[in-house]
């Protein structure tokens, strides 16, 4: 075979494989949406699931997922920002910093099921928080922190040195410089990354099986007292999220329409992830524009 033919052949193979990926993606999305969207209705999104009867919904699960997401982000974002700022601005190069970096890397590659088990052992049992939204949020924080640290570091390292120097040269303290000059400039990167991280949290299930639990108590959506056990706002109640629900009905669902419910719930989950993705892009672009438009 001549070099030219080989070249053409190799190019064809590469293009074909790339095409297959796009097809797989299209097939995947198409399958979930076609299978699932038909089942999605207002009733499906708002009503409670049925164990053995048809017609169950995913209302509480959807609410739990969103609530858990908010709880998790409230804990993760400040901690991740703080740790990221430390790594990017305060850590001095050397053995200790290298070790911390290695540790963060290790944490980011821990399987989420291991994080969940750690949560079960320490948060649920030792701290006595039980299967609860709060335990789940803490486990997800552990799971999400390394990503948040990396996002923050990435954002801060993108700030031009001239901006930082200009502020310091005015006799502004380092902390104030970070808060008032550097963080606003790195905001597009940090915000985009955070939204994507939120998407990851929304779809996570393995870390939640043994922390937030696999069941929801009967929720009374008219009870807004966060301390009452039947209130949806109570962070110390067990809560099955949408992703966990999909897993559960697939492995032990008894309702006759379990496959449809799984498809519908998957479609909702995918749509949420899509929304997070598009939102991240849109926010990133919008903020970028805001900063550079005047140039």
């Amino acid at each position: 075979m001549s070099a030219k033919t080989k070249d053409k052949l190799a190019t064809a193979v590469i293009v074909t494989l790339a095409g297959i990926i796009v097809l797989v993606m299209a097939g995947l999305l198409g399958f979930i949406l076609v299978r699932g969207l038909g089942h999605v209705s207002f009733h499906f999104l708002t009503s409670a699931p049925q164990t053995i009867k048809e017609g169950g919904g995913i209302g509480p699960q959807l609410f739990n997922s969103l609530f858990l997401l908010v709880l998790t982000m409230i804990i993760t974002v400040p901690l991740g920002l703080g740790a990221g700022i430390y790594m990017s601005e305060y850590a001095k190069p050397g053995k200790i910093t290298d070790t911390i970096r290695l540790i963060v890397e290790v944490l980011s590659s821990f399987p989420s099921i291991v994080v969940g088990l750690f949560g079960l052992l320490v948060i649920v049992n030792t701290f006595g928080l039980g299967f609860s939204l709060f335990s789940g949020a803490l486990a997800l924080t552990v799971f999400n922190l390394p990503l948040m640290v990396r996002i923050t570091e990435q954002g801060l390292s993108g700030v031009p040195a001239a901006q930082k120097e200009a502020s310091l040269a005015l006799g502004i303290s380092k902390w104030k410089t970070i808060k008032s000059i550097m963080l606003p400039i790195s905001m597009p990167v940090i915000l985009t990354g955070t939204i994507l991280a939120a998407g990851r949290v929304f779809g996570e299930a393995a870390a939640l099986l043994f922390t937030a639990g696999m069941s929801s108590p009967r929720l009374d959506f008219t009870n807004w007292n966060p301390l009452s056990p039947t209130s949806p706002l109570n962070p110390f109640r067990p809560a099955e999220t949408l992703a966990v629900h999909i897993w559960k009905i697939n492995s032990e669902g008894l309702a006759p329409d379990a496959p449809q419910i799984a498809a519908g719930a998957s479609a909702v989950l995918i749509l949420m992830v899509l929304i997070f993705n598009l939102l991240a892009r849109w926010v990133g672009r919008l903020m970028m524009k805001k900063f550079t438009a005047a140039k």
């Binding site: 080989k6 293009v15 993606m25 590659s109």
Partner: protein, 299 residues
């Protein structure tokens, strides 16, 4: 500014600097404490089967898992084999796809690649694992059941699902490696009259090989630790399969299924923690292999 005014000022900004240092150090210390306590708790719990229940190391590498038997047998080799074979096979499927996608985006059609392929890969990365499991269960398993003998569940189905899940990892690292290649390297090869494929296969791929391997190992690590998607399509039979299309289990799948059904502190439960401990140790191995490859890539 008066002298006393200046003194006041000293205090204020010094306090501010300390606030910053303390707040951020606190965050990082917390992170470090979390990781160390994680390793500590999982390790002590994972080793208690050996120390408290008298499990022998040879027992855990036995081939029969019968926790309810008389006497109970805790041979975890089927799970270990299941984990390794699914993640290896997933990497074997995903590596050519991922590297091709990267080559396509960097070398062949950057415009189309960045516009269409990039978002597709990013989306794949964002899809939750339970959704992959669900699709695997409703599409891939029936497909394999129709084509091959057996129920369709098993290593092949698990590896297929995992390969799509780890594709983004492999692709994005390969893309970065290819894009950061100095332009002179390729131009030198083209200047000698080499075709694109000759340039890619003789210059570009060998130079970026350590980085490409990094991506593949990271992908494998992710596949190894993935729990729910695999659990849904692997079949969960606790023995070593005779074919790729026969039901089996992985470390993660058996933990997922049994952890909730066993009593904390019982021997079976402790052995499950031992499996979690093995999973964690494998994470360390993967991280160190990745570090080693990264050092090679920098050279």
């Amino acid at each position: 500014m008066t002298q006393s005014g200046r003194k006041q000022k000293v205090k204020q900004h010094v306090i501010e600097e300390w606030t910053g240092k303390i707040v951020t150090s606190f965050c990082i210390v917390l992170l470090v404490v979390i990781i160390f306590s994680m390793v500590y708790f999982v390790a002590t719990k994972g080793l208690s089967a050996f120390f408290k229940d008298g499990l022998k190391l040879s027992e855990i590498f036995g081939t029969t898992w019968k926790p309810d038997g008389e006497p109970p047998l805790f041979g975890a080799l089927p799970f270990i084999i299941g984990s390794f074979s699914t993640s290896l096979l997933a990497a074997v499927i995903a590596a050519p796809l991922g590297i091709s996608a990267a080559l396509f985006m960097v070398e062949i059609m950057p415009n189309i690649g960045r516009k269409y392929l990039q978002p597709v890969i990013e989306l794949l990365a964002g899809i939750p694992s339970v959704v992959y499991g669900f699709v695997g269960l409703s599409v891939i398993v029936p497909l394999y059941r129709d084509i091959f003998p057996g129920q369709g569940l098993g290593i092949a189905a698990g590896a297929t699902v995992l390969s799509i899940m780890i594709l983004p990892t492999i692709t994005s690292i390969a893309t970065d490696a290819l894009a950061s290649l100095p332009a002179g390297l390729k131009e030198g090869s083209y200047a000698l009259g080499a075709t694109r494929w000759q340039t890619l296969s003789r210059t570009v791929i060998p130079t970026t090989l350590p980085a490409l391997m990094t991506g593949i190992v990271l992908g494998m690590a992710r596949a190894f630790g993935e729990a729910l998607a695999v659990q849904m399509v692997i079949g969960n039979a606790p023995h070593i399969p005779h074919s790729l299309f026969e039901s089996t289990s992985t470390l993660t799948s058996v933990i997922t299924l049994s952890m909730g059904n066993t009593v904390m502190g019982s021997m079976q439960n402790n052995v499950l923690w031992t499996l979690a401990f093995i999973l964690m140790m494998m994470t360390f191995v993967f991280v160190f292999v990745v570090r080693w490859l990264e050092r090679r890539a920098q050279r």
